[in-house]
Amino acid sequence: MSTLVTENRFADPDRAYRALIEAHRGLSDDDSAALNTRLVLILANHIGDHSVLQEALALAKQSMGTAEAKS
């Protein structure tokens, strides 16, 4: 069983982030949501490890809590 990597893995993380932004630029909220949903399914399958997926879900949910606390 592997664990979720939370350290940066990209050689150029700014470029990767930019790729996400560019993919969404000009899309309506609905289309953006549809794109993200497909992306989640594709990446979840690529990970292919239920425990890593659970950890990623937990991290995402946890960060929603802290974002609220900070705002």
Binding site: T37, R38, V40, L41
Partner: protein, 534 residues
């Protein structure tokens, strides 16, 4: 509307028990003559346990009905002597197709290999199955069906229960050591014991219609997401005997059940789907469903089986199939306990094994329902994203869920003796044996599962050493000839390999080189004797 004919009518008949001054005592009373109760009663009777089967109705052929019977269920029905008429009448199928709009997304084959007696599935109106079971029951002298006998009271006694039974001629009491409560989703016995059902209730409504027509659809299960004839919802089509087609249409959570069943509403929907109106309606109903179960299936001497114990959504055909598998799991255990050949605690293993099976079925059925009937905008987005990705990436086809069709459970159970050796092949500890075509000692073709029947059996591949002894030992090569090598392949069998099979044909133990004490211990273990130590 419900114009389905009452096909089989039975009469109430007064029985001797009604004239006794004190209640007659029976070893087992089964309540409910649906497929589950009938299978349990027949199985018990075949195992030499006298059975009384009570049913409040005097007919079969009414109400919402299961139509899909899976391979494992057919294997059980074969052992009970009713598979042949069901196969002869039923529509055999194994291919499922999933469409989005008008496009085929993918197809699946539920039995891609040869060498099994039973097909993946048959479709058959439930009343034909019930009729075949009733006819079989009539041929068993120690099984008595009492129609028009309604249980209106239940009292626990030490080592048994007393039932108060109402008939057209008044009520009478019956004492019994065991009660099998197979009285369906609205179980009266469950209510009498005040037992709660736990689980999820789904809000989506579905229209079920049986339509008579000459159609040229193949005998396959066709499922549509968002079909052109039923925008935004799902549809399912199945072929039944007698030129009857089962159509299932999702209506959404806000549909008016009564209005939707009106012919003026149903007929245009079906016309749009079928492209013509050359059909007649056999039966229409609107349903919602639940995925829930009793926390425990065994309450003293009252044992729940089938829909009285657990309910699932219809996607996956896991209702009747799992109920019949409950009946099979319970029958041999009750028979051994009733004969004093196993401790009463063996019945606890029914609760354990079939609770786990119910959880598995409820899990599959809940996940299918999540996919078929999304509950929020984002759930719908996930569903539609998976459907559109399925056209481009193989993984997404596997995500698409139109119902995961019933397969038997592999029991993780104290009745199994854990493997000490490594094994390949499709046979798995705790699972029903895979079938295989064999020849008997006279060279006649016989299926492995036929040779097993319903007895605890040892299968042994000779290796020159003393073969095992037991009440039912089959020696591969002598008693059963593995002509085509299916057995060797499916069981990873080599000289010395030995298998202990439960009376319900599930694998209880296997060894590369077994000793007499290992057999004895495993055999005691499968009958529920503590730890299996002789």
């Amino acid at each position: 509307m419900n114009n389905r004919k009452i096909i089989y009518q039975f009469g109430y008949r007064r029985c001797a028990d009604q004239d006794r001054p004190s209640p007659a005592r029976h070893p087992v009373i089964v309540v409910g003559a649906g497929p589950v109760g009938l299978c349990a009663a027949i199985d018990l009777a075949q195992r030499d346990i006298p059975v009384v089967l009570l049913d409040d109705a005097d007919r079969i052929g009414e109400g919402s009905r299961g139509i899909c019977y899976a391979k494992r269920t057919l294997e059980i029905l074969d052992r009970l002597g009713v598979a042949a008429p069901c196969l002869e009448k039923g529509v055999t199928w194994k291919i499922g197709k999933v469409f989005q709009r008008s496009d085929l997304l993918y197809a699946f084959d539920l039995l891609p290999e040869d060498g099994h007696k039973m097909p993946a599935f048959i479709n058959l109106q439930q009343y034909y199955l019930e009729h075949a079971l009733v006819e079989r029951a009539a041929g068993l002298p120690n099984l008595e069906i009492r129609w028009g006998n309604k249980v209106i009271g239940l009292k626990h006694r030490n080592n048994g229960a007393t039932l108060n039974v109402e008939t057209p001629e008044g009520s009478y009491e019956l004492d019994t050591d065991w009660v099998v409560a197979a009285d369906g989703a609205r179980s009266t016995l469950r209510g009498m014991l005040g037992l709660a059902f736990q689980g999820e209730v789904f809000e989506d409504r579905f229209l079920i219609a049986d339509v008579k027509m000459k159609g040229d659809f193949p005998p396959e299960r066709w499922f549509w997401f968002d079909p052109p004839f039923h925008d935004g919802h799902s549809a399912l089509l199945h072929k039944q005997p007698d030129d009857v087609w089962r159509i299932d249409l999702q209506l959404g959570p806000h549909a008016d059940a009564k209005a939707e069943q009106a012919p003026e509403r149903v007929i245009p929907r079906l016309r749009q789907m079928l492209g013509h109106d050359d059909f007649s309606l056999e039966w229409v109903s609107v349903y919602t469903f639940q995925c829930r179960r009793l926390e425990r299936f065994v309450h003293g001497r009252v044992v729940f089986a089938g829909d009285s114990a657990h309910q699932v959504s219809p996607f996956g055909a896991r209702g009747a199939n799992s109920g019949i598998q409950d009946a099979e799991n319970l029958a041999w255990k009750l028979a051994l306990v009733a004969k004093g050949e196993a401790p009463e605690s063996l019945i606890e293993s029914y609760d354990l094994e079939r609770s786990a099976a119910a959880d598995e079925n409820i899990g599959h059925s809940t996940r299918s329902t999540d996919f078929i009937a999304p509950r929020s905008a984002q759930e719908l987005r996930f569903r539609d994203s998976a459907l559109s990705l399925a056209r481009h990436a193989p993984f997404a086809k596997r995500v698409v869920n139109s119902g995961r069709l019933s397969t038997p459970s592999t029991y993780e159970t104290p009745l199994s003796t854990p493997d000490a050796d490594t094994w390949s092949g499709s046979a798995r500890l705790g699972a029903p044996l895979p079938d295989a075509p064999m020849r008997d000692r006279n060279g006649r073709p016989i299926w492995l599962l036929e040779a097993l029947g319903g007895r605890e059996t040892i299968l042994h591949v000779p290796n020159g050493e003393q073969p095992p002894t037991g009440s039912h030992v089959l020696i591969i090569v002598d008693d059963l000839i593995d002509e085509h090598g299916f057995f060797a392949q499916r069981f990873d069998a080599i000289p010395g390999s030995t298998y202990l099979v439960r009376p319900d044909q599930h694998l209880a133990a296997r060894w590369r080189h077994a000793t007499p004490s290992a057999f004895k211990s495993a055999s005691r273990r499968l009958r529920g004797f503590e730890g299996g130590h002789a």
